[in-house]
């Protein structure tokens, strides 16, 4: 028997596999395929104070080994989520991580305080890196001071673990990582890369929003490099995210320094992908004679 249990900045999970925000709704859709309790964690859809309609036009563009999305944080608002989704989710023994979005720094704190009061959430992921909204989103994550400011306000509202989802679309991600660590973050994760697709026939952008976030295997080498850099810059744990489809991808992220991972786009290709990956990790550890997944973290030989 190998141990898959991890402690991610105070958040205990039965295995290091979480599903990525915005790719898994509030869990309902994928619960028709398997028991969500098999996952280590679920990161819920980015949720704001008020409901949001999101962007118009095409929101999805297929790209080589990946996809662009410009959903634009469509969500029903925190009150609706707490009332309609969270009670149902409690039947599953899985870490429930709320993903938080806002226009103003104060909005993040407000959403966290409402989730906290519900006592149905186990941790937070603060999305200061959404590339698909004009106001808020990535703007907060673009510099160390504003990023730390959001984290400070959120810290006052909760004792639960807080993961800050950083934008990779910056000059020096490590500087921002250190600033949010100092402001009280318990962990880090990474968002999508800003990208674009053009339809030459119409000479128009494919996405209604013109640009969107690139996800899927296409970004794995980029995110992997960032995890490696972050692991050397901070001492809080890192959630590896970007292009994971197989157990080998997860092992790569763990070796680079991630303590847990998120899988997003892979769910769209195969709803069972997270479970296949969990099985694959066990197989790999057994083959390597390892007994504890935590022993792999940061084990890269350079």
């Amino acid at each position: 028997m190998v141990n898959l249990k991890v402690n991610f900045g105070g958040l205990s999970m039965k295995n290091p596999i979480t599903t990525a925000s915005g790719t898994f709704g509030y869990g309902e859709e994928y619960s028709q395929f398997y028991d969500l309790s098999r996952l280590g964690g679920m990161i819920l859809k980015g949720t704001s104070v008020e409901p949001r309609l999101g962007n118009k036009g095409y929101r999805i563009a297929e790209t080589p080994a990946g996809m662009l999305n410009s959903v634009g944080l469509q969500n029903p608002g925190v009150h609706y989520a707490v009332e309609h989704y969270l009670p149902w989710l409690q039947q599953f023994d899985v870490a429930k991580i709320a993903n938080i979005v806002g226009y103003e720094a104060e909005d993040y704190a407000q959403v966290v305080s409402i989730f906290d009061a519900s006592k149905m959430i186990d941790a937070y992921e603060i999305n200061i890196s959404c590339p698909n909204v004009k106001q808020g989103g990535m703007a907060h994550g673009a510099n160390a001071k504003t990023a730390a400011h959001v984290m400070e306000l959120v810290r006052k509202e909760t004792k639960l673990p807080v993961i800050v989802k950083l934008s990779p679309n910056v000059t020096d991600i490590c500087e921002i990582a250190k600033a949010v660590e100092a402001a009280g973050a318990d962990g880090l994760s990474i968002n999508t890369f800003l990208g674009m697709a053009i339809d030459v026939k119409s000479r128009r952008p494919v996405l209604g929003n013109i640009t969107g976030g690139l996800s899927g295997p296409a970004i794995k080498p980029l995110s992997l490099r960032i995890v490696y850099q972050l692991a050397h810059a901070v001492s809080i744990p890192i959630m590896g995210v970007g292009g994971i489809t197989t157990a080998t991808d997860v092992i790569e992220y763990l070796l680079a320094g991630a303590s847990a991972v998120s899988m997003g786009t892979a769910n769209f290709i195969n709803p069972f992908a997270p479970l296949d990956v969990i099985d694959g990790i066990v197989e790999w550890l057994e083959k390597e004679g390892e007994t504890d997944i935590n022993a792999i973290v940061g084990g890269l030989k350079c």
Partner: protein, 266 residues
């Protein structure tokens, strides 16, 4: 309830022009499939090309033999790769997905309007309606006579078929919307209209139906990634009975909607 299934292609044959038909050994006997539902198709088992699964409506299904039929037009790389597959090849299927058409026992006379590849989901619908003894008119719209699809399939099921071509090379000269207006004017109303095709066609049919006070259902298409309602890629705007604008997902809340509730171009 949708399942994720590795399936085999039983048959993959050209229909006409760039249209093909694929029969897959999907366990239809265990699934509750309704006409208008669709599946997500993955042709690339172990590669990332094409990356996303392709939505395809279920043309028809055979519960006894345990198979489903997909009919498709080659429009890009994904559908071209589909057309190059042969019997025995593997495909991954997620489905059946979406809500499908809603049928009403009290309906007697029904009009189906299909444009281009939009005719396909109406085949399974016509099969059920005719088996229940309904009077079904199938209006098939196409650009020209070479692209008129499935005429004989509808005739064989006992539907009355009317054809419109944009260039007048076959049947009524004009769009399927013009043909519907003509039919309604000459033959009077119908109890319900079901439509699938390009968006301008569905928008036009929904408007004509509303004016004639005939309830209509349209089957929408949209770019989608997951097909199960999670990614919110295929959101469209819907006008509720109270006049409020809300969002629904084509994959999960549709693909079939009441013609009167869809905000076309919204």
């Amino acid at each position: 309830m949708a399942i994720v299934e590795k399936c085999h292609i039983l048959e993959n044959v050209p229909l006409q022009a760039n249209f093909f038909r694929m029969v897959i050994d999907f366990p239809a006997e265990e699934q509750e499939i309704r006409p208008g539902q669709f599946v997500m198709v993955r042709t690339a088992a172990d590669t990332v090309d094409p990356f996303l699964n392709r939505p395809m409506s279920i043309t028809n299904f055979n519960r006894r033999q345990g198979n489903i039929t997909l009919s498709y037009q080659v429009v890009g790389r994904g559908t071209r790769l589909m057309s190059e597959m042969t019997a025995g090849d593997k495909v991954e299927i997620i489905g059946p997905l979406g809500n499908g058409f809603t049928l009403y026992d009290e309906d007697e006379k029904i009009i189906l309007v299909g444009g281009g590849a939009g005719i396909f989901p109406l085949i399974g619908l016509a099969a059920i309606l005719t088996s229940r003894g309904k009077k079904v008119q199938a209006l098939i719209g196409a650009r020209n006579r070479e692209l008129v699809l499935c005429e004989h399939e509808f005739t064989k099921m006992g539907c009355e078929v009317k054809i419109s071509t944009d260039d007048g090379s076959m049947g009524f000269h004009g769009f399927a919307t013009n043909l519907l207006e003509d039919v309604l004017q000459k033959e009077g109303g119908a109890d319900r209209i079901y439509c699938c095709g390009p968006e301008p066609l569905m928008a036009g049919i929904a408007k004509i139906a509303e004016k004639a006070a005939i309830p209509s259902q349209v089957s929408l298409e949209h770019r989608m990634a997951c097909g199960v309602g999670a990614c919110l890629g295929c959101a469209i705007r819907i006008k509720t009975a109270e006049g409020e604008i809300i969002q629904k997902r084509v994959c999960h809340d549709g693909p079939v909607f009441a013609g009167s509730e869809v905000v076309f171009g919204g």
